[in-house]
């Protein structure tokens, strides 16, 4: 696909093949499709996939209005949640790195905490991404954490082209 797409991409003024491809991936079905797309566009030896894993900032409010517990219990909870999120991140980053290695593509994990769109724009800028690939929004009614990527912020903030996998 890379070879077929190359002339059109160059004609559109895109850096091709992409040297730094930023992929937002956090393990959902849509993100898996984004990974497939990213791997099909990546050129082994040239492209490096920057795997962005975002821990959404709604976790900051997850102690909610707890007022009965003492500091010890709250700290134990915070440590537990952080531990769970870290373990999840490690597992997903490891799985993605293994897929990239199998495809002969280099990858670099990037872990960020905050609003998804803000994190993605910052990571793309700092990583010098030539292309950004994300998955489609989760279909309505499908269970999962509510932390949507704000597409308008991406459109305004990204310097690199954005591909959304279907």
């Amino acid at each position: 696909m890379s070879e077929v797409a190359a002339p059109q991409a160059r004609a559109a003024g895109l850096a091709w093949p992409p040297r730094a491809l930023l992929l937002a991936h956090h393990g959902t079905a849509g993100a898996e499709r984004a990974l497939d797309l990213a791997l099909s566009l990546a050129v082994p030896g040239t492209t490096r996939i920057l795997h962005l894993y975002i821990v959404p900032d709604f976790w900051a409010g997850m102690q909610g209005d707890d007022w009965l517990n003492n500091a010890w219990t709250r700290d134990a909870f915070a440590e537990h949640v952080e531990g769970q999120l870290a373990q999840e991140a490690r597992e997903r980053m490891g799985a993605l790195a293994a897929r990239c290695t199998a495809a002969g593509v280099d990858s670099t994990p990037i872990l960020r905490y905050g609003k998804p769109a803000e994190c993605l724009v910052a990571a793309a800028r700092e990583g010098g991404a030539d292309l950004v690939v994300i998955g489609p929004p989760r279909p309505k009614g499908e269970p999962g954490l509510r932390s949507r990527m704000d597409l308008e912020s991406l459109a305004r903030g990204l310097a690199a082209p954005l591909l959304i996998a279907r």
Binding site: P56, D57, F58, W59, A60, G61, M62, Q63, G64, D65, D66, W67, L68, N69, N70, W72, T73, R74, A76, F77, E79, H80, V81, Q84, L85, E88, P143, G144, L145, R146, S147
Partner: protein, 560 residues
């Protein structure tokens, strides 16, 4: 770590509060205060006119008799004056404190240590205190006025029906700030101290119970909470695996839905090794339910004509999240704190159940989950014990020993005939109003209570007092009946000054604490409500709310 922010915000809050106090004292705000408190202002103006007329009449009489004009007597402070003076006093104390610390925050060098920690916390405390003051002094009376003003058009008083009083408004404003405006960085550390205000409020509540009251409410709460907490924990543990929920998800959900909401889920999550997604789904569900219950419970309670004991028992049992129990109780009964007294006993009982439930869940999880780490049950019991409950019991002990009020105060000593002076007995005009109201009553116990009041011209028992409170509440716009019952109640209850002050402080502590707690309820976390926890939690939550309502209506008498 450096906690403080070099911000003039605290100093500005302090100056604004001092200004509020000064403007109230100087009378600059009389026009606005008159609009906010129309009833008190009208009485105040009438008292001024009467005083001026009396003074002039006395002067004219003296002149007619060839005597020098008598010295004008100072006017007795009106309720309106009292309101302004109370606000000014509190504004001076808090404003002075905040302004002084605000200057220190600006002057002190940033250096790690205790001083820096407190300099980082006080601005946030001032932020929630300032908002609570604004809500209580301005928004609460404003909404009450708007509700009354809109009544002829709407046909109902929206502020009253929707319980838009200082408690609900404080929580809502807190939620608006955190979700739409964001909490300023200089206030973020201090806002988290909201729980300190609430715990202090619960500790002080200990001063308001008689031993008999505490024993009876305690027994009732142990039975109710025992049935509904253990019942709902058991129900979730039963339903979870059948619906394909994981053990960790079932564990964290059962504690949250069964015991006391977010706090229980926070306490149980590490013990049952809850996954991140389990926690998010569960806490989102509980917060969603908590907010819904806080708005619906008081309205349902009003519609069903529930009294403080019934509503307190229902809210204390049926509302999933303990933070909203206090909110709903104060929303239902913002002027007195009788409902809060009942609801908090139920809350405390729930909290006391928490370590036991966590230990139960730990054992349940270890049994079902291969490879789960065993938990030191003794350590869990000690770590989860709510120490502030000891503070509550200590204050109760001091109070029972007569530290704050004469012995016998709580037993309703002033109901006895010898203790009510002749001038405190109901007047003929008040008796006439009550007699006119008598045919409107339908319940026999209410008729008897009112007949006894008319015959004795005073209340003779706490039970009668409780029944007549309901009559007064139902009298709605019949001011004469309300005033007469109010006068009888006032003659029977002689609160000591300290106890009155405690009541006032408790109301403030809860108002401030709940405003701060509102700032910790984010829509982003509520939006996480979903998955199996939403289904199981909603079903069990409805069963618990409806079941406890039925039990309360059938078996809990208004009088304890």
């Amino acid at each position: 770590m450096i906690y403080s922010h070099k911000s003039p915000a605290l100093l500005i809050i302090g100056i604004l509060m001092l200004l509020w106090g000064w403007m109230n004292n100087a009378g600059t705000l009389d026009g606005m205060q008159g609009w906010l408190h129309p009833g008190a202002y009208k009485e105040h103006k009438q008292a001024i006119d009467k005083h001026a007329a009396d003074t002039q009449a006395a002067a004219e009489k003296a002149a007619a008799e060839g005597q020098p004009a008598p010295e004008a007597k100072p006017m007795k402070p009106s309720k309106f004056d009292g309101t302004k003076a109370g606000q000014a006093q509190l504004a001076y104390i808090l404003g002075g404190l905040f302004a002084a610390v605000g200057v220190l925050v600006l002057v002190l060098p940033k250096k790690e240590g205790h001083l820096d920690y407190y300099a980082g916390v006080v601005p946030g405390m001032a932020f929630i205190v300032g908002i609570a003051c604004a809500v209580r002094w301005i928004l609460d009376p404003m909404f009450a006025n708007w509700g009354k003003a809109a009544q002829p058009t709407l046909g109902w008083d929206f502020a009253k029906i929707m319980n838009l009083n200082y408690v609900v408004l404080g929580i809502v404003l807190g939620m608006i700030i955190v979700n739409l405006l964001r909490i300023p960085a200089w206030a973020a550390n201090g806002v988290r101290t909201a729980r300190l205000f609430l715990k202090t409020g619960v500790v002080l509540l200990g001063t308001l119970y008689s031993a008999a009251e505490l024993a009876q409410l305690g027994a009732l709460s142990v039975v109710m909470i025992g049935i509904f907490v253990l019942g709902s924990v058991w129900l979730v543990l039963l339903a979870g695996p059948r619906m394909g929920a994981s053990n960790s998800m079932t564990g964290v959900l059962s504690s949250g839905v069964g015991v006391c909401g977010v706090s229980a889920a926070v306490a149980a999550s590490p013990v049952v090794n809850a996954k991140a997604v389990d926690i998010a789904f569960t806490l989102g569900t509980i917060l969603l339910w908590g907010v819904l219950c806080m708005f619906t419970f008081p309205t349902i309670g009003q519609l069903l004509g529930m009294g403080p004991v019934q509503f307190g028992a229902w809210a204390g049992t049926g509302i999933l999240n303990s933070a909203q129990v206090a909110g709903a109780a104060l929303a239902f009964d913002p002027q007195g704190i009788e409902t809060l007294k009942v609801a908090e006993i139920f809350n405390i009982t729930r909290v006391l159940f928490l370590p036991i439930i966590v230990v139960w869940l730990a054992a349940w999880y270890v049994k079902r989950e291969a490879g789960a780490q065993k938990v030191d049950l003794g350590k869990v019991l000690v770590a989860k014990f709510p120490v502030f409950v000891l503070g509550f019991l200590f204050m109760f002990l001091l109070s029972t020993l007569g530290m704050f009020a004469p012995p016998g105060h709580y037993q309703g000593k002033y109901f006895s005939s010898e203790q009510v002076k002749e001038d405190k007995l109901l007047k003929e005009k008040e008796i006439a109003a009550l007699q006119a109201h008598l045919p409107k009553l339908t319940k026999p116990e209410e008729t008897k209570a009112l007949q006894d009041l008319i015959a004795n011209r005073k209340l003779t028992s706490r039970e009668q007092d409780h029944v007549l409170k309901g009559v007064s509440k139902a009298a709605k716009d019949d001011k004469a009946v309300k005033d007469a019952v109010g006068a009888a109640n006032k003659a029977a209850w002689h609160d000591s000054k300290i106890i009155r002050a405690f009541r006032d402080w408790i109301a403030w502590l809860f108002a401030i604490g709940l405003t701060g707690l509102g700032m910790q309820i984010t829509v982003a976390s509520i939006k996480q409500a979903g998955g199996k926890p939403l289904i199981i939690g909603s079903v069990v939550g409805i069963i618990k709310a409806v079941g406890s309502l039925i039990v309360v209506l059938l078996f809990v008498k208004e009088f304890v």
